[in-house]
Symmetry: C2
Subunit: 588 residues, 2 copies
């Protein structure tokens, strides 16, 4: 027997079997109904309006949940929990906005990439029935029974406080629960609106902590700092060398980043007047080395063939164990590493880019020192690190600098050279995007040849009074460009995709919106696709951390994704070497 | 297409579908084939002899596993791993003894109650392939891949030592794995034969630690001590009172039992020259109060209505966290509590008794202070604590004493009174079994009436020069007997079972074999069933701990069992009060 379900709010009509659960019908109709408590009737987030008289009376839990929302039981149109409602007749229903899963924007560049808010850490507010002699037999059993999960985990520390706490608060409590399976904290009264998390981007150079409201998926505040590990080594390799030089150094590196993170967390929470008790999770997106150093895990194998990480995924890690100062039973999720030089920053970035969901062939490129490239062909993924070197980060360049105020970040040639600096400060040097623009203009003007030789026997090309580019700087750019270019060519070859068959190139990393696509193509860094196909995503590592903080589904997705990514070690491939040498010429 | 499989070693012939796995066929034929590694082809414990020529060649892992057993690949009859062998033709096979699951005897009273050895902690010996650049991406991934479990958990402490350790030992390692899902330790070379565990009975009066060889299920050594918590309270209620009197007392009680256990563990391991590193698990069977005190969990609610425990099941508990000095990543399993006065000692006891598997109606009785009774009718269980009091443990009796050397434990009347003491020592007092014999004889001789009055206006009945029984002692025995008798009657009534419909009475606890069934029936303690139906099981708590140590299935069973046990609070039942008063008379 089939019934007609008319979802008037969404203008959809569907058929339902007799006895089927209304929330299942709605979900199957393609509507993002909230399934917060997994159909247990506990959260009250899937109420629908039943536009009909003579429906089954409200259940006790429905009445309680309506009351929490300030609605009484006579409210019309009648509301019922769709996860508890069985279809026995034709129905006309309307789904209020608050029963639809909200979405959040995690990328800040305006690219439309939305994430459904369905966080691993959820809060529940209960008024528990007081225990009786017959049942349940224990206080923890009371929680398990009410939460309808006999395997609900409770830490010993919470267990110890449980009996006194329940009594004191008259069984009126809120729970923070991880993955619907583990109690992270128990709080007095209704604290549903206090659920915070941290998205943390541990970059080799920069550390970012972003405080998020988990309920709304909104960013509340953000804190940037230079990674203080820099004093032990500017780049990854020097930091790894430092770590393996002396037995205490690894721990020192860990302590440095932990202290720094804890200070940043303290500062941000103080500014927003939020207690760390309500911060139940931190998601970390770092490259493989940063992730290892954060956990004090040896890094020697990262730098020596066969370049193994010690871990890719870390299944469960308490914040206390990791040393992070949030809720003491809080959880740490580390975006999984792919390989030694393709880390959690990239896996998080892939998630933020939505690449897996895009149909067609895509390149994801992070234009940092490692120059990570991931190519997707249909459902197949391959990753490689190109070891582009630090030229694009302004290092090893005479007048190079990072993209901070005063950096020449953009140049145009309109009969004369026009340069722009960040925040319009007096020019102090050249950052990566400025370098690309300048080299492109030099090529156009004939200041350099396709082989990268400065013409007219000059030693350097002067930009401003203090800023110039030397022959050696050009060589550095050639090497960086060639690495990425050869890497892209190698992967495209490997998957047998011609450039014209690329549906898009997604650019992550710090470069962001400053990059001039046409100039990158002129110097050969990016392949000659339609510039509209090149999409800048900004800081994809941080965006990915935010996405993984507010979506449990995306955690599963990223873990499956990295299992399905092949890895290609370019340094071991003879044809990559050939491509690299060919790519040293500045040609499209 | 069906094939004939002739299992000549077991004289069984079965049919098998084409392509089915041989180990599945053997299991389905009712043969307890070892399925140690869950059909992963890793343990080599399900080799069978294929009595046929022209079978598929040995696989690499089969060859390695045969080599470990000192067999070469040409060995005849040909051996193949049955979990890796697909049936494609009629077969004649023979299953060697070493591929059959062994059984262990956990009860020491000679009752035939065997447990299949299939322990939660298993050891594996691997020679791992060295990692390559392409795959896997990490050392932990290497373990996961080889172990064919992507969710294999590895503690951070093990992760840190992993890369150096693997290299140093040339990828030649043994793993101790819990529930096929969590690595407890990683050891150099082949340590398969070192897998030990502890069965721990924390009784209110006595603490027992038994060291077991997990591979063979055999007991290696045992250590008994009086529970040192006794100095803070002789019985449960006084210990609970002590715990709630002052804030530090709970911790003091925990520290006392932990220190004592750790000393006992140290002593027993020293005697057997076994390193604690190889002790991966301890199973604890204690009453609810002892379990709470062991974990420093508040006990106040145990003694006040509605008498809730704080926990029944504890899902996972690291030995380090619990403070037990075994392998630092070792695991603690606590036999689940049922209710405040029916604890893990009883749930373990039920498992040891095999009551759930017995067909029919059974009573399980633990004749201690709480006098726990569990009645099984078909598949239904009901439990109650009768608060028998400590008379049967020799307390509150003028000349009472525990069942230690010198205790009058047995008495007979053959024209004159004949008494026996434990170890034939000079009589120092009377223990529980002796008390039951004496009261029964007094009744027979007319020294006391059915109402328990001493006849002939005597104040006391003298047994030996120094040992006697007073009117008050008789009253104590009456109360203890009445509690148990009324409890049994109440539960039988509740489930509507007449005494004649009882298939057996299982007696657990310290009483053991000393109890004279006919005398217990004469004084009314046990119902008048055929004495052959009364089965003494000895220390069922300890036996249950041993069973739970060597069988993962039994852990599932006990957890399901306690979920299905009803609880009856006798003190709240008016008819129990009536039965109790009636039962104060010594009548069958």
């Amino acid at each position: 027997m089939k019934y007609n379900i008319n979802i008037v709010s969404h203008n959809k009509k569907v058929l339902a079997d007799k006895g089927s659960i209304l929330s299942d019908i709605i979900t199957r109709a393609g509507i993002n109904l909230s399934r917060f408590c997994n159909k247990k009737g506990l959260c009250g987030k899937c109420f629908v309006e039943i536009l009909k008289k003579d429906i089954p009376p409200l259940k006790k839990n429905e009445e309680d949940l309506l009351k929490q929302r300030g609605l009484n039981s006579n409210y019309t149109p009648a509301r019922r929990l769709s996860c508890q409602y069985r279809v026995t007749e034709d129905l006309k229903i309307s789904i209020p906005d608050e029963s639809i899963l909200q979405e959040a924007e995690v990328l800040t560049t305006g690219v439309d990439q939305r994430v459904l808010i369905d966080p691993p850490v959820k809060k529940y507010y209960f008024r528990l029935p007081e225990p009786e002699i017959k049942k349940p037999f224990s206080f923890s059993g009371l929680l398990k029974e009410f939460f309808k999960n006999d395997n609900l985990k409770i830490d010993l520390s919470l267990l110890k406080k449980l009996p006194g706490f329940l009594k004191k608060n008259k069984y009126n409590i809120s729970l923070a629960i991880l993955n619907n399976s583990e109690i992270l904290d128990i709080e007095p009264g209704n604290t549903l609106n206090k659920n915070y998390g941290l998205a943390i981007d541990i970059g080799t150079s920069t550390v970012i902590v972003e405080l998020m409201d988990i309920n709304s998926g909104k960013s509340l505040d953000i804190e940037y700092k230079a990674n203080l590990q820099i004093k032990y080594g500017l780049d990854l390799i020097s930091r790894i060398s430092f770590a393996i030089r002396d037995s205490g150094n690894l721990e020192l590196l860990q302590k440095t980043i932990l202290d720094q993170l804890n200070k940043m967390i303290k500062a941000i929470l103080k500014r927003k007047k939020i207690s760390k008790q309500y911060v139940y999770e931190a998601v970390i997106a770092g490259n493989t080395t940063m992730n290892h150093l954060f956990l004090n895990v040896p890094v020697k194998s990262l730098a020596l063939a066969p370049y193994n990480a010690v871990f890719t995924k870390i299944p469960e890690l308490g914040a206390s164990k990791a040393g992070l100062n949030i809720n003491q039973n809080g959880n740490i999720y580390i975006a999984p590493n792919i390989k030694s030089f393709v880390g959690g920053d990239i896996s998080a970035g892939l998630i933020a880019s939505g690449m897996a969901e895009r149909k067609g062939n895509y390149l994801f490129i992070d234009l940092g020192t490692n120059g990570e490239i991931v190519l997707k062909k249909g459902r197949k993924f391959i990753a490689a690190a190109t070891a582009a070197g630090p030229a694009f980060e302004g290092m090893n360049i005479s007048c190079g600098m990072m993209a901070v105020p005063g950096a020449l970040y953009k140049a145009e040639y309109k009969k004369r050279l026009i340069t722009y600096t960040i925040k319009n400060k007096k020019p102090a040097g050249i950052c990566g995007t400025g370098l690309i623009d300048l080299v492109s203009i030099f090529l156009f003007r004939g200041d350099i040849t396709e082989k990268g030789m400065i013409t007219n026997n000059k030693k350097k090309i002067r930009i401003t009074e203090n800023i110039f580019i030397t022959q050696n700087d050009i060589r550095e750019v050639q090497k960086a460009v060639a690495a990425v270019k050869a890497g892209i060519r190698f992967l495209l070859d490997k998957y047998n995709i011609s450039i014209s068959k690329l549906d898009g190139i997604l650019i992550g990393g710090a470069f962001g919106n400053y990059l001039n696509v046409k100039n990158t193509q002129k110097i050969g860094l990016l392949p000659p696709v339609d510039p509209d196909k090149v999409i800048f995503l900004g800081n994809t590592a941080l965006a990915g951390a935010k996405a993984l903080l507010i979506s449990g589904c995306l955690r599963k997705e990223v873990e499956e994704l990295i299992d399905n990514i092949s890895y290609c070690s370019l340094g071991m491939e003879p044809s990559f070497q050939e491509y690299f040498i060919e790519a040293l010429d500045f040609k499209k």
